[in-house]
């Protein structure tokens, strides 16, 4: 509790890992006004149910591109009596201090989210790419292995842009071109040149997306294979035609092939009202290395341990690449047995970036006092608390 320095990094090259030293919220969900002042090290957030711990992590998750850890709509984030919300943070890293802010802005054509860096001009949230590397784990992700492919794909894409910040922009461009093409097809508008132009973009961005995913899964797979002890080793595989094709075919040929298929599928896609092929339909298959069984067949507790193993593996890979993420771990401690909890805290202590943990009581976090600061959140504000050694 008395050492404000972050835990020393064990790796040779010092990763530049920004840590939050200030977080201000206004009109954001249940936090009408809140300003946290922090030391640049890990945080344990303690408070009763409903006090707004997850909301706080969600606010941090919005300091990056995307819709945050709940994928909420902009209006859902608005507090009960608020007409606008804003999130501000001071990041302290080796590169110095940065001020990041994001807010809801009403325009003539509806609400949008804007972001500023160091008080500069307001831009779209994509401008935040790479500023604050983040990784999160929430109770809602407990069903990641059993639910539909969409959430797993988004989970994978977040892992990718943890290593390759340009991935966010690529996905956004791809998604926009998808919607443009479908709009034309649904309107019955078969302007071949226009469709070809969009399909060429889709093919170029699609291959780049698939290639970035392949690269991430390879790096992460290598890190996970080395995992042993309380967190199980996982095997990762990409399920997607394009990702598979890249293993055997030059990227340029895959790109051409995809553009050709899109052109051939115009009628089917128009009828289905959706784009039937492409990396937006890929999936991440996770299996237990020891048993060779798919993760979805494991027990709930085992699935959670697998997810944590993936997250820790990703944190190691990203840290080695100099992009140590801030980890947001919502209610992770509660569902682990004592041995795994201790093992998790040990791993987190070795992580060079800031870690945010939440829980309902301090007793769950025994053993974190050396590396974390305790924050007790209550309805009327917050205070520093001592953690157990």
């Amino acid at each position: 509790m008395s050492t404000p320095e972050a835990a020393p990094s064990t790796s040779g090259s010092a990763p530049r890992c920004p840590a939050l030293v200030r977080l201000s919220l206004a009109g954001f969900r249940n936090h009408a006004r809140l300003e946290l002042r922090l030391e640049p090290r890990s945080v344990v957030l303690i408070g009763p149910n409903g006090v707004g711990k997850t909301n706080l992590l969600e606010a941090i998750s919005l300091l990056a591109p995307g819709r945050g850890l709940r994928r909420a709509g902009l209006g859902e984030l608005l507090g009960p009596a608020a007409t606008a919300w804003a999130i501000g943070a001071t990041l302290q890293g080796l590169a110095g201090v940065r001020e990041v802010a994001t807010a809801l802005e009403a325009t003539g054509r509806g609400d949008r989210r804007v972001a500023t860096l160091d008080g500069g001009v307001r831009r779209g949230p994509v401008s935040l790419a790479g500023v604050l590397p983040l990784l999160w784990l929430t109770p809602a992700m407990d069903r990641l292995f059993v639910e539909g492919a969409g959430n797993r794909r988004r989970f994978l894409d977040r892992l990718v842009y943890g290593l390759d910040p340009a991935h966010a922009e690529r996905l956004q461009a791809y998604d926009r071109a998808l919607r443009e093409r479908l709009t034309l097809l649904r309107a019955g508008r078969r302007d071949p040149a226009w469709l070809t132009a969009l399909e060429a973009r889709l093919a170029a961005d699609g291959v780049a997306i698939a290639a970035a995913r392949v690269a991430t899964v390879e790096r992460l797979g290598a890190a996970l294979a080395a995992e042993d002890g309380p967190f199980p080793a996982a095997d990762l595989a990409l399920v997607g035609e394009m990702e598979a094709a890249l293993a055997t075919t030059p990227a340029l040929a895959v790109e051409e092939g995809f553009a050709t298929r899109l052109a051939r599928n115009r009628a089917t896609d128009a009828e289905a009202g959706t784009t039937t092929v492409g990396p937006h339909r890929s999936d991440l298959a996770v299996s237990y290395r020891a048993r060779g069984t798919p993760a979805r067949l494991a027990s709930t507790g085992e699935q959670k341990a697998l997810l944590i193993a993936i997250l820790l593996g990703q944190a190691r890979v990203a840290s080695a690449a100099g992009l140590a993420p801030v980890l947001l771990l919502d209610e992770v401690a509660a569902h682990l047995d004592e041995a795994r909890r201790r093992a998790l805290f040990d791993r987190l202590a070795a992580h060079p970036g800031q870690v945010w943990l939440t829980g309902t009581e301090a007793a769950l976090f025994a053993g974190t006092a050396a590396t974390c600061q305790g924050i007790a959140l209550a309805g009327d504000g917050w205070r520093m608390v001592d953690l157990l050694p």
Partner: protein, 201 residues
Amino acid sequence: MRSKGAGAAGPIERLVDALARLPGLGPRSARRAALALLRHRESLLDPLALAIEDTRRSVHACRRCGNLDTTDPCRICTDATRDAGLVCVVEHVADLWAIERAGAWRGHYHVLGGTLSALSQVGPEQLAVAPLLARVATGDVREVVLALNVTVDGQTTAHYLAEQLAAFPISVTRLAQGVPLGGELDHLDDGTLTAALRQRR
């Protein structure tokens, strides 16, 4: 807060509302601008009113290239020292001005008026695509430079135009992408660096 200033009425209110619709201005800055105009009648209000009236009366879009000028065709299109065989396609007049400021282009222009966007319901017929093809079809054009923004819509439009122009015996080029002058490699984004390496010479 309402857009109308308390106490403002009639013409002032209309002025504030009109100013607030300008790009970059909101209700607050529009009120400040309106008050400044009224406070400095001779130095601000009168010259602005004259300039707006003059512009309204005399400036038109060039029927050939879409540039804004007091003559139609515009002075660029009628400049005999410029090479009419070279046509630079831009999204907006602002882009034309940017290229003119650089002073490096001695050919003609073609202002598209935007980019293709199915989501915003902008198709080829909303843009000056047919006039461009008509210009090229006359046989006077040797090269078309697609100087569109490097955005998703800009590049889709460039690709579309390249397809449309492929039928003509002319060369179709695009602006190079790469390291800006005075740019430090360390601060460049990955995409720009990759493009610069790919287009090295």
